[in-house]
Structures are given as C-alpha cells and as structure tokens.
C-alpha cells in the first residue's frame, strides 16, 4: 500500500479536501480571536446549521447550488442575531463569560437542531453537482471533493485580497496587531469585530453547505469538527490567515494519513501534533503577532 503512488495521491487529495473544510472554519475563529481575544465555541454548531439548512433548501428547491448560496446567508443571519442578543452584551465582561455563553449555546443549538431536523444523518436526494469521478492518472477520484478543494482555495485567495487590499482588511490587521492603538487612531474596532464575526459565521455556513452533499448532515457534526478546528487555530497561530491555512494543512494531513495508516489512533496523531506545538512553539506556527 505504501509503495503504491496512487495511495499517496488519493490520500493527499483527501488531506487537502479536509484541510479546506478546516480552513473555512478556522479562519473566522482565529481572526476573531486575534482581534478580540474571544473564541466562539458554538462555531462548529454554525457549521452543522449550514449543513442542515443547506439540506432543507436543496430538498425544497431541487438545487444544491441554491443551498450553497442561501445557507451561508441564513447562518450569517443567525450569527448576527446571536451577536446582538448575547455576545455584544458581554463585551465588557471579559473573555471568560463570552466563552461560557457560547459553550452554553452549543447545547442549545444542538437540541434546536435535533428538534427541527431530528437526530438522523440526512443525505440529499436530488442531483448533486460535480458528482462524477475524474481520473487523475489512472486513479478515479470523486470530482466533488476536488470542488471542495477549489472552494477552499478560492476563499483563501478572496480573503487574502480582502485582508491586504481593502480598508476593512487594513482595519482588521491593525486591530489584531494592537486594538488599543487602532481604536485611538480612529478604527471602529467594535464594528470591525462585528463584520469579521459575521464573515466567520458565513464561512462556517458555507463549509457546512459544501460538506453536506459529501458527508450528509446531522445535528452532532458541529462538535465533531470543533475540536480539530480548535487544534488548527492553536497549531496555526492565532490571528493570521496564513496560520489558519498552514495549520489546516498540517491537521488535514495528520488526520487523513493517520486514519488511513493507523485507523484507531488517528486522533492521537492530531493530539501529538498539538502537544508538540504547545511544547516547542506555544504561539503557533505563523502567529499574526509574535
């Protein structure tokens, strides 16, 4: 198996695909963390919500593309609601109350999802775009997974431009670097945070909607993806786009090859990577601030 080049090719692509999903989730978390020292633990639940809403839209309209478009918007709206009703109130209370509230939200959203969609895994029944296989060399590979990879890379490119070529991006980078000074220079840090938070929610929803045709949707998928996402944030380094990208690649490769080579211990490999980073380079591989 290990000498077969197609094994490496397939698992390599699988790693990339998992990495892209992790990237879509971790980038929002890490930039928000860098900006405001706050982690939304319910972020995984928004991913699940994106998948479930995407499922419903796809089933109702017959178009999975419509789901890709509308589910992220719906999740962003939910995120805005959560921010306005809960998170904003606790801005002055410090990071711990905010984290605790989002932790409580995991339970609430999980049950809400079970109530609305049930506990079973839901697979979309209509036509899924890119559902064929593409031959890479002699190896057949699901085209849809290549689509996911493409989406991830496109989002990375888009975010890179946003962060480095727009005013909002400059404000975000300033806020991550030194929120106090940025505010003193006239950057409306609260507003920047709100926009970045919404963007993060939208990306989580997109990740869910895009993952749904390949992996089906169910209420428990939020917590399942949360821990690898948090590991990516720690390993990649907080506050940076490239950190999220590189961290996602590291964890994507670790989990995919780990599952293929040592099925029972794949999780351990990921935690080993986490421990190694914590011991050797606690600030992460590519932190925004050193």
């Amino acid at each position: 198996m290990l000498t077969d080049p197609s094994f490496w090719l397939v698992q390599g692509l699988n790693s990339l695909q998992l990495a892209m999903l992790l990237f879509l989730l971790s980038v929002g978390l890490t930039v928000i963390f860098g900006l405001m020292n706050f982690v939304n633990l319910a972020h995984g639940s928004l991913y699940a919500l994106g998948a479930l809403i995407g499922y419903s839209i796809a089933e109702a309209s017959g178009s999975v593309f419509l789901a890709f478009l509308l589910a992220p918007l719906a999740v962003t709206a939910v995120g805005a609601l959560l921010y306005i009703t809960l998170i904003e109130r606790l801005r002055s209370a410090g990071p711990l109350p905010q984290v605790l509230v989002t932790f409580g939200l995991i339970f609430v959203l999980m049950d809400a999802q079970r109530y609305l969609w049930g506990s079973d895994a839901l697979g979309v029944t209509g036509d899924v775009p890119f559902s064929g296989t593409i031959h890479i060399g002699s190896e057949p590979y699901p085209a849809y997974r290549l689509f996911i990879i493409a989406v991830g890379i496109a989002v990375f490119a888009g975010l890179y431009l946003l962060l480095n070529r727009t005013r909002l991006g400059a404000e975000v980078r300033a806020g991550v670097d030194d929120a106090e000074t940025a505010a003193a220079l006239g950057v409306n840090v609260e507003r920047t945070f709100f926009l970045v938070f919404l963007l993060g929610c939208g990306l989580a929803g997109l990740a869910g909607a895009v993952a749904m045709p390949a992996f089906s949707a169910e209420a428990g998928m939020g917590v399942e993806i949360l821990v690898p996402t948090l590991v990516v944030v720690v390993v990649g380094g907080l506050g940076s786009l490239s950190g999220a990208f590189v961290g996602s690649l590291v964890i994507g490769v670790t989990l995919t090859f780990g599952t293929a080579l040592f099925p029972d211990f794949a999780g351990i490999a990921m935690y080993a990577a986490l421990v190694a980073v914590l011991l050797l380079r606690p600030q992460g591989l590519l932190p925004a601030r050193s």
Partner: protein, 311 residues
C-alpha cells in the same frame, strides 16, 4: 465563614433527606454525592486557580475506568487498592496532561482541555478490551462487611457516598487555607506578579491540575461502584459541560457552590428528562442565564442579598 455554615446546612439537609428516603431517593443522593465531589474538584482548579477546564469529565471517567480495570480479573486488586489506584492514577495522568496544558493561558487553555477531554473519550470509545462503546459491566463495590456495613444496600451506599462528599469538602476547605491554597488564589489573580516574585508558576499550575485530577478520579471510582456499569460517555464533553454548569450555577470559587449546583442539576435532570428530550438546551440555557445575570451563581446571589454585605 458564611460559606462553611451554608455547607454545613446543606449537608445536614442531605443527610436528613437520606434518613427519610427510599430506593429512588438513595439513588439520587448517591449521584448527587458523586457529582458534588467532581464539581468541587473543578472549582478548586477553575474557581480558585483560574484554570477553566472543559475536559474535566475525562478525568472523572478515567477514574471510573481505572477503578474498574484495577478491580477486574485483568489486574485483580482489592477494592480499597483499586480506589487508591484510580485516584492517584488519574492524578498522575492529570499531571502529565497538565504539564503541557498549563503552558498556555485563558481561552487557549480552555480549548486545549476540550481537546484532551475528547481524546480521552475517543480512547475509551475505541478500546475494545475495556468494552468500547458497549461499556463495562459487573463492577464490584467496596466490601465493608468486616465492619458490618453492606454497601450493596442502596441506603448504605448512598450514606457512604455522602460522607465521602462531606470529607472531600473538609479536605478542600483545609487545602484552600494553606499556603498552597493561597498560591492558587494568587495564580488566578496575577500569575505574572507571582512569577516576578520568584514562584515557579508552571510547576504550581501543573500540581493544581494533578490534585484536582486526583479528586476527580476519586469521584469516578465512586461512580463506577454506584452504577456498576460504565461507558465512555462519562468522559464526553457533554458530561464536562454538565459539571462546569454545576460549578457556575452554584457559584465559581465558593467551594459550597459546586455542591449546591450538583444538587440542583441532578434533581432537575431527573425531573425534566422524563418530560422532555431536550435537557441539553435547558442546561445550556441555565448557563447562559447565570452568566448574563452577572451574579456568581446561587451562592453569589445569596451573598449579595445578605444584610450588611457589600456587593
């Protein structure tokens, strides 16, 4: 002082309930005692030491599994040795995990503990030798027939569990009054200053994590004896969440608060689980409400309302 009086009153009420209870009451009391011990151990770490863990149940479950494994045919230790092995074995593992985890602070630490907790859950889930997803049956209780106590009797077991919980309260209250307890509070208030004053911050944090883990493992060994059947769910993030909510609902950093929280949450869960499938949402809702209220849980509220006390 008020808090110790509150604890005295609370334990007195629990013992009084025990004297009137029957089977169902005994089962509830035993569960309350187990979670009170677990919640107190988390309060020591989080409320006093300032290290909030979202993976504490993993240490609890580890204690349960260690007790079961040590007492089983695979190892064959007597129950008292298995209890000690479970508690201190969990403490050792907590020390190893803590030594790594305490190198980061605040939210990073919270995230790491969530991760490690899930790793623990995954380990026992995959481990077929210890039952995997199906769990472990036939766990033996401590044999106290030599002193005339039959722990297979639900009433006696519940009483033993309650006494254990009371003793743990006294032990932790004592530790908090020692120089080590002062260091814990200092680590919460200002670890940087402690470092500048000459304290090895990481060493003490890891020690606190290990001590808290030992107590959590002890709670696990009692839980295993209570239900005599354990599953990996004991280590799950939902269980960690429940314990944390107990501490916060009762009052972080009060030691008696976790006991209050354990009583309230265990009773509520039993009442409401039979009516609704969505106990999780209710628990999460409680947590959100308590945090939004800006009071330090029920004990914090009581202290606020007491005459002659400033806020």
């Amino acid at each position: 002082m008020t808090r110790h009086l509150l604890a005295l009153a609370l334990f007195a009420a629990l013992f009084a309930w025990h004297s009137q209870a029957e089977y169902y009451g005994f089962e509830l009391l035993a569960e309350i005692a187990v979670f009170a011990i677990l919640a107190m151990s988390l309060d020591l770490l989080a409320g006093y030491g300032g290290m909030v863990s979202l993976g504490h149940a993993a240490l609890f479950g580890l204690g349960a599994y260690l007790y079961s494994w040590l007492g089983s045919d695979m190892v064959g230790l007597s129950a008292p040795l298995a209890i000690l092995g479970a508690a201190f074995g969990t403490g050792v593992i907590a020390l190893a995990v803590g030594a790594v985890a305490v190198r980061v602070e605040g939210i990073f630490f919270i995230m790491i503990t969530l991760g490690f907790g899930q790793m623990g859950h995954e380990f026992f889930f995959q481990n077929k030798a210890l039952g995997g997803d199906d769990g472990l049956f036939g766990i033996q209780r401590l044999d106290l027939s030599g002193i005339g106590i039959d722990l297979s009797d639900p009433g006696s077991f519940a009483l033993a569990a309650l006494v254990s919980a009371a003793l743990v309260y006294v032990l932790l209250a004592w530790v908090l009054a020692t120089p080590f307890g002062a260091v814990l509070k200092g680590l919460h208030a200002n670890p940087n200053r402690l470092r500048a004053l000459g304290l090895r911050v990481l060493t003490y944090r890891a020690a606190a994590f290990a001590f808290s883990g030992t107590v959590a493992g002890f709670a696990g060994s009692i839980s295993a004896q209570h239900t005599q059947f354990i599953t990996p769910h004991l280590l799950n993030w939902t269980t960690s969440g429940e314990v944390l909510i107990m501490v916060i609902l009762g009052g972080l950093g009060t030691l008696v608060g976790p006991v209050v929280g354990a009583v309230v949450l265990v009773l509520l869960r039993h009442e409401l689980s039979s009516i609704t499938d969505y106990w999780g949402a209710i628990m999460g809702g409680f947590l959100i409400l308590v945090v939004l209220s800006r009071q330090n849980g029920l004990v914090g509220l009581v202290e606020r309302l007491l005459p002659g006390r400033r806020g």
